[in-house]
């Protein structure tokens, strides 16, 4: 009986992990790809190994772009993106779900912090701010950095790869 319970516990754990990965794969397969401009990066973390901390231009939302009431920390934010050259840029932000226009996309994040009292802008996190560098791929070379994002219809983003001077990395 105990052996069966143990096997059951292991199977449940494995199923949860496999199910989670499968749901992520499912979302990724149905998502459309866009590119975002990366404002700055931190190339290496001494404690956690080789990953790149990214700071996207769309993370800074000016106060005049925000529709509706002022959000609180952690509140979800729907940011409308529109093509601007080769990348997408933020054009509107709202506390409620919005319908994008033609050629536009919506990405969902949550409020991480607020700017200075004078600017009243806010900083948004999307859960794509970290890129784990594959083993033996070396550090990300210097150059103009852009990130390819897979964006589901609901606005959930996945960071898929980076582009350095328009060349894919890794």
């Amino acid at each position: 009986m105990r052996a069966r319970l143990f096997a059951g516990a292991v199977v449940v754990h494995a199923l949860v992990l496999v199910g989670w990965a499968a749901s992520l794969e499912w979302d990724l397969a149905r998502a459309s790809r866009i590119r975002l401009a990366v404002a700055q990066r931190d190339p290496r973390d001494l404690l956690r190994g080789v990953y790149v901390d990214l700071r996207f231009e769309i993370q800074e939302i000016p106060a005049d772009m925000m529709a509706g009431s002022q959000p609180d920390h952690g509140d979800p934010i729907w940011v409308t993106l529109a093509p601007k050259g080769a990348v997408y840029a933020a054009v509107a932000a709202s506390r409620t779900r919005t319908t994008p226009g033609p050629d536009q996309r919506v990405i969902v994040g949550h409020v991480a912090s607020f700017g200075a009292r004078s600017s009243r802008g806010l900083s948004v996190e999307y859960g794509i701010e970290r890129f784990y560098v594959p083993e033996y791929a070396g550090t990300v070379p210097r150059g103009q950095l852009e990130a390819e994002i897979a964006l589901t219809d609901s606005g959930r983003p996945f960071l898929t790869r980076l582009f350095v001077d328009d060349r894919p990395y890794p």
């Binding site: 516990a9 920390h73 952690g74 890129f131 784990y132």
Partner: protein, 311 residues
């Protein structure tokens, strides 16, 4: 499971802990594969939610303790993350963070008592230690900061519903806890819960005072109330610990009283610098109190151990 069945209890427990750790590594690896950089507390939540049912089903004390350690880490991460449901309640005002830690401490103590003296005795001991440590860690600074201006400098703007939810949960757990205490008269068994319920009431009062922007005098009263509360609850812990042979209660009760005495000393030090004689007297008092308390702790612990051996 096989190692445990053959009598290698510790090896079995170690392997369970290793397996639980590998589960966390698996969760982290999936996050890394898909470059997920959301809240790390979410990963810890998934981990302990998966571990605990497995720990209780097998049953494995090691897995249960590991799971609850994960839950404790998750709670602390929530307190410090201002974008999380609990963090944004408490980050607006530092004392609310201390209230959150104390509320979790009371909840942990009650959850520990609920594990009883049966097969989960070690889980109970773990919870009681964690709970009393957290409650003491929060109550001592709350007593120190009563006369500081920053209590009201950072005003609380919204009702901390998540924090009040944790306090309600702690109250519910305290209400059920006496049913799992050693056989005794109902009034006696309700004693420890009643003492810790005073802590909950005090914490709720602090939240209300912060929300209503109470006067500085009110916070000064809270300061004194904190001293009295620490002493009363610590005394209750020592007495009930001696009654039911729970040495950890006695030890934490003594630690609380000692910490309370030191807090009182520093409070006097800050406000009555000119009265050096009082300093000296207070210092001597603290030293004597510490000596007396240590003697009391040793005596009660030895008596509890002797009682245990004689059974």
């Amino acid at each position: 499971m096989k190692a445990r069945a053959r009598g290698y209890e510790k090896l079995g427990a170690g392997l369970f802990v290793l397996g639980g750790g590998i589960l966390l590594v698996g969760i982290a690896l999936i996050g890394q594969l898909y470059n997920l950089s959301g809240r790390q507390s979410d990963a810890i939540l998934l981990w302990w939610i998966l571990l605990l049912p497995a720990g209780y089903t097998l049953p494995s004390i090691a897995l249960v303790v590991l799971g609850w350690l994960g839950a404790s880490a998750w709670y602390v991460m929530l307190v410090f993350d201002r974008t999380a449901w609990l963090g944004r309640d408490v980050q607006s005002n530092v004392p609310l963070g201390l209230v959150a830690i104390a509320a979790a401490g009371v909840l942990a103590w009650a959850l520990g008592v609920l594990h009883g003296d049966g097969p989960y005795r070690r889980v109970r001991q773990f919870f009681e230690q964690i709970g009393l440590l957290a409650t003491g860690i929060a109550l001592v600074p709350l007593g120190l900061f009563g006369n500081q201006a920053w209590w009201v400098v950072a005003p609380t703007l919204r009702w901390p519903t998540a924090l009040l939810g944790v306090l309600a949960l702690a109250t519910a757990a305290l209400a059920v806890a006496p049913s799992r205490l050693p056989p005794d008269r109902l009034v006696v068994r309700a004693g420890p819960s009643a003492a810790l319920f005073l802590v909950v009431l005090y914490l709720v009062a602090i939240v209300v005072a912060l929300l209503t922007h109470a006067t500085a005098v009110t916070f000064r009263v809270f300061d004194w109330a904190d001293w009295a509360l620490l002493f009363v609850v610590a005394l209750a812990l020592i007495l009930y610990g001696a009654r039911w042979d729970r040495t950890s209660w006695i030890n934490w009760g003594v630690v609380w009283i000692g910490a309370d005495a030191v807090v009182c000393y520093f409070e006097l030090f800050g406000s009555m610098l000119q009265t050096s004689a009082l300093f000296f007297a207070t210092g001597v008092f603290v030293l004597l109190l510490g000596w007396a308390l240590e003697r009391l702790r040793r005596r009660i612990t030895a008596r509890a151990a002797m009682l245990q051996r004689s059974r």
